[in-house]
């Protein structure tokens, strides 16, 4: 590693971390929604969890991102955790703040909990395989960071901008376009706040403990980093055994007395290199030798073996009960999805966005990063709380009480980083039926009040809801579900409360709607001939 001086490694790492952190944060909080979906796609191709999901589902950009990450990891170890991961950077921020408060009490080496860590990784994958993204939802670092940002930072930012807009509007109306105040869903906000508190507490007390126990990306990268070309090593002859490296290692992976670094737990932050008073620590190729370095290292630690044993025991104990627990919950949930004959049954399961293909597919792939929630122009996408069951906590749903799906919009699919919402061209999107409308004739204003209304028909983009003559001159809504796409415009516009007289019941598996029949009105090439008055 002569191209870069050892002490500059940390600066490069910090620069990269801050760049990713700022870009990802802005993308998630973007109050003006000016980041083009294509840019979002490229940026998030470098987020390990979503990129893996999308690469497996569709290939494309995500594969390129993954290839880069794989190469970086094989070369430099878990550099991702310190130079790319936004949740890692958030933790580093907390760690820095904590450092200000307690200069003396620092970290000490603890044997990595590989059993727990790899066990959780396997459990996460098992859950995904069984059709629940629950653990990934709560531990995958991009998704955790994203929902914290969308649910807490974004509203704060919007509040700030709107405050400035009101102040400006006071001086000159229309000077600043205020941002539509996004609805804050209290359960989602509180859950995100809870996650933020947890992350803060973990990093305040134990540095990067999250990364070495709960994080599935950290586990995966840890495995790869065991064979990385470059790694951080302690030169035994230069080391004076002062223990400073161990005290400053936020990953708690340096065993100073034994001059060992647990490579799989090391997040490659390079902090130790700069802190070593004798410059004994360096980032080196595994093939390069240094004066006084023993190769191979003496006295290999025996703890990893213990870790393997732990992991096996853990899986033996935990696997069957968890599988047994998750399967029935999936089945009961699917059963309720089929009962769509009444208002309550229809509302018991949420409608999922076009491109998600089926509720089961969607809930098994979405890790609730809420990028679609913050990108959706109409705000119809809102985080669910327990509507998808505990396994689908915070996954976004179509909330027609807030808005409806814009006919000419495909934003959610184009930004979704995991592929849970597939990207679609506008023509196909317009034919995806995510649900079907039901009309409760007796509750309709036209029947109950004998007055014209037709707000539903007015808003319907396909005229699946048209109007036909009723009593006298009144016009009453009439439904053609073959061309209904379930966008919810009718339900949103219906003035009847609390139960809408027209509502959308979800399609458990999305269907293809027929194309709305086009009219061909007689054209007047010259325009009007005579005024009829």
């Amino acid at each position: 590693m002569t191209l870069v001086r050892q002490r500059n490694l940390k600066n490069i790492r910090v620069a990269s971390a801050l760049a990713f952190f700022c870009l990802v944060t802005y993308l998630l909080a973007d109050p003006w929604r000016i980041v083009p979906p294509r840019a979002a796609e490229w940026l998030l191709a470098f987020q390990l969890g979503p990129a893996l999901s999308k690469a497996i589902l569709y290939g494309g950009t995500a594969v390129a991102g993954l290839a880069v990450l794989a190469l970086l990891t094989l070369l430099f170890g878990r550099i991702y955790c310190s130079a790319v991961c936004p949740l890692g950077t958030l933790q580093d921020f907390f760690i820095r703040v904590a450092g200000r408060f307690r200069r003396l009490r620092r970290y000490k080496y603890r044997p990595p909990m590989f059993g727990l860590h790899y066990g959780l990784l396997l459990l996460t994958l098992l859950f995904l395989f069984l059709g629940s993204a629950l653990i990934a939802d709560l531990t995958e670092p991009y998704s955790v960071y994203a929902k914290i940002t969308v649910q807490t930072l974004r509203p704060a930012f919007v509040l700030l901008v709107n405050g400035a807009a009101s102040a400006a509007a006071f001086l000159h109306p229309g000077v600043v376009d205020a941002i539509p105040a996004r609805t804050v869903q209290v359960p989602a906000f509180l859950t995100a706040l809870g996650l933020l508190t947890l992350i803060a507490a973990l990093s305040f007390s134990r540095g990067r403990l999250f990364c070495n126990t709960l994080c599935p990306a950290g586990a995966l990268l840890g495995i790869a980093s065991r064979i990385s070309l470059f790694r951080i090593v302690i030169g035994h002859d230069d080391c004076n055994g002062c223990g400073k490296c161990e005290r400053t290692c936020k990953a708690e992976c340096i065993d100073s007395p034994r001059q060992q670094i647990s490579r799989a737990a090391c997040v490659t932050c390079f902090d130790c290199i700069g802190n070593c008073p004798t410059e004994a620590i360096s980032f080196r190729s595994r093939f390069s030798r240094r004066r006084g370095e023993h190769h191979p290292s003496p006295a290999p630690p025996s703890r990893p073996e213990a870790g393997h044993a732990d992991r096996r025991a853990f899986l033996r104990r935990m696997g069957p009960p968890l599988a047994a627990w998750s399967l029935p919950s999936l089945l009961t949930w699917q059963k309720s999805g089929r009962k769509t004959d009444s208002y309550d049954a229809a509302k018991s399961v949420p409608v999922v966005p076009p491109g998600s293909q089926s509720i089961a597919r969607y809930t098994s792939l979405c890790t609730a990063c809420h990028l679609c929630v913050s990108s959706c122009p109409t705000q119809v996408l809102q985080p669910a709380f327990l509507e998808f069951g505990i396994g689908g906590i915070l996954q976004p749903k179509m909330d027609y009480s807030i808005s409806y799906c814009n006919y000419d919009c495909t934003v959610c699919g184009s930004v979704c980083p995991t592929g849970a919402i597939a990207a679609m061209d506008i023509a196909s999107k317009k034919l995806v039926q995510i649900g079907r409308a039901s009309f409760v004739r007796d509750d309709c204003v036209v029947v109950s009040k004998k007055k014209d209304c037709a707000a539903c028909s007015e808003h319907c983009p396909t005229k699946a809801v048209s109007t036909v003559p009723y009593e006298g001159s009144l016009m009453i809504p009439s439904l053609n579900n073959d061309i209904c796409i379930g966008c919810g415009a009718c339900e949103h516009a219906c003035p009847v409360t609390p139960r809408k007289a027209i509502y959308v019941a979800p399609n458990t598996v999305h269907q293809r709607a027929q194309k709305p029949p086009e009219q061909h009105n007689q054209s007047l090439p010259q325009g009007l001939k005579e005024f009829p008055f």
């Binding site: 007055k451 016009m475 009847v496």
Partner: protein, 303 residues
């Protein structure tokens, strides 16, 4: 083309208009003469050109907008569709009206609508946002309740109170610029129905006799001028429309200070009878305006 070059080059009738204004006929304090016509009907030109002719026949925009006034131009920007779909007022017409107002010395010209589809997309994709900015006007956001304030509708039968947009409340004059369309709820949407975009809570109207609410609101808030865009007229699947197949290219425009008269004429233009649109009957009965076209003085212009 911005409004300066437009007037400088004297396109349309602007040369005549320009001379008129530079003579200072309508400086502050000048009493307005009575209008020559109750209704002006124009056909056969582009929306902007037809407006030039039509407003000229009424004596120029200076009959309605005087120096220093704050003007709101209220088009229909309800839907996320392009100009060729006829779902929103033609952007060329809106832009031209803004130009005229500013030339007449308006302090500011604000354009807004409480859209049905997502507001930003409606403003952008209707082409109106660009046309207004190019003309020197301002688009006012209207997508959140904070912009609307309580007003009382005196004499309203169904609608006795509403929340109206603050830009309209502050304005000295409103120019109402609807587009003529069929409507699955009220049969037709023209000038009176277009005023529904001034308020926040439209569900109340839908729940409490929509026709009566439209008539009540027309009695409360009278625009200084109504300009009905009947260039692309949506004959089927209104008010949003499904495709350009819903459109008949009529190339017409109606101008009047009388909202009932202009709606009555527009109903005829569409090919229906005024009796078929209930809110129009209610408004005529409440003497909000005149529906006896035969007794109105009408100027008919073919471009």
């Amino acid at each position: 083309m911005n409004r300066r070059t437009f007037f400088k080059h004297g396109i349309g009738t602007s040369l005549a208009l320009g001379t008129y204004f530079t003579h200072g006929a309508f400086s502050n304090g000048y009493a307005l003469p009575p209008l020559t016509y109750d209704l002006v009907a124009v056909k056969g030109g582009d929306p902007d050109v037809m407006f030039d002719k039509g407003i000229d026949a009424l004596g120029g925009i200076g009959m309605f907008v005087r120096r220093g006034m704050s003007v709101v131009v209220k088009p229909n920007i309800g839907w996320d569709v392009g100009p060729e779909r006829g779902g929103n007022t033609n952007p060329k017409l809106v832009g031209r009206i803004v130009e005229h107002c500013l030339h007449a010395g308006a302090k500011e010209v604000v354009v807004l609508d409480h859209s049905c589809d997502e507001a930003e997309r409606c403003y952008r994709n209707s082409g109106i946002e660009r046309a207004v900015r190019d003309a020197g006007g301002t688009m006012a956001p209207a997508h959140s309740e904070g912009y609307y304030h309580d007003v009382v509708i005196p004499g309203g039968k169904s609608l006795t109170a509403a929340k109206e947009h603050e830009a309209i409340l502050k304005a000295d004059a409103i120019i109402n610029v609807p587009v003529l369309k069929c409507h699955s709820g009220t049969r037709l949407t023209i000038a009176m129905k277009n005023m529904m975009g001034n308020v926040w809570d439209r569900r109340f109207w839908h729940q409490n006799d929509l026709h009566q609410c439209i008539a009540d609101f027309a009695g409360y808030r009278k625009p200084v001028l109504n300009v009905v865009d009947a260039y692309y007229v949506m004959k089927t699947n209104g008010p949003r429309g499904i495709s350009t197949g819903d459109i008949v290219t009529m190339k017409a425009q109606l101008l009047s200070t009388d909202i009932v008269a202009v709606d009555t004429a527009a109903v005829r233009l569409f090919g229906m009878e005024p009796g078929e649109v209930r809110y129009l009957q209610l408004a005529a009965a409440a003497k909000i305006g005149r529906s006896d076209l035969d007794h109105l003085s009408i100027r008919r212009i073919t471009v």
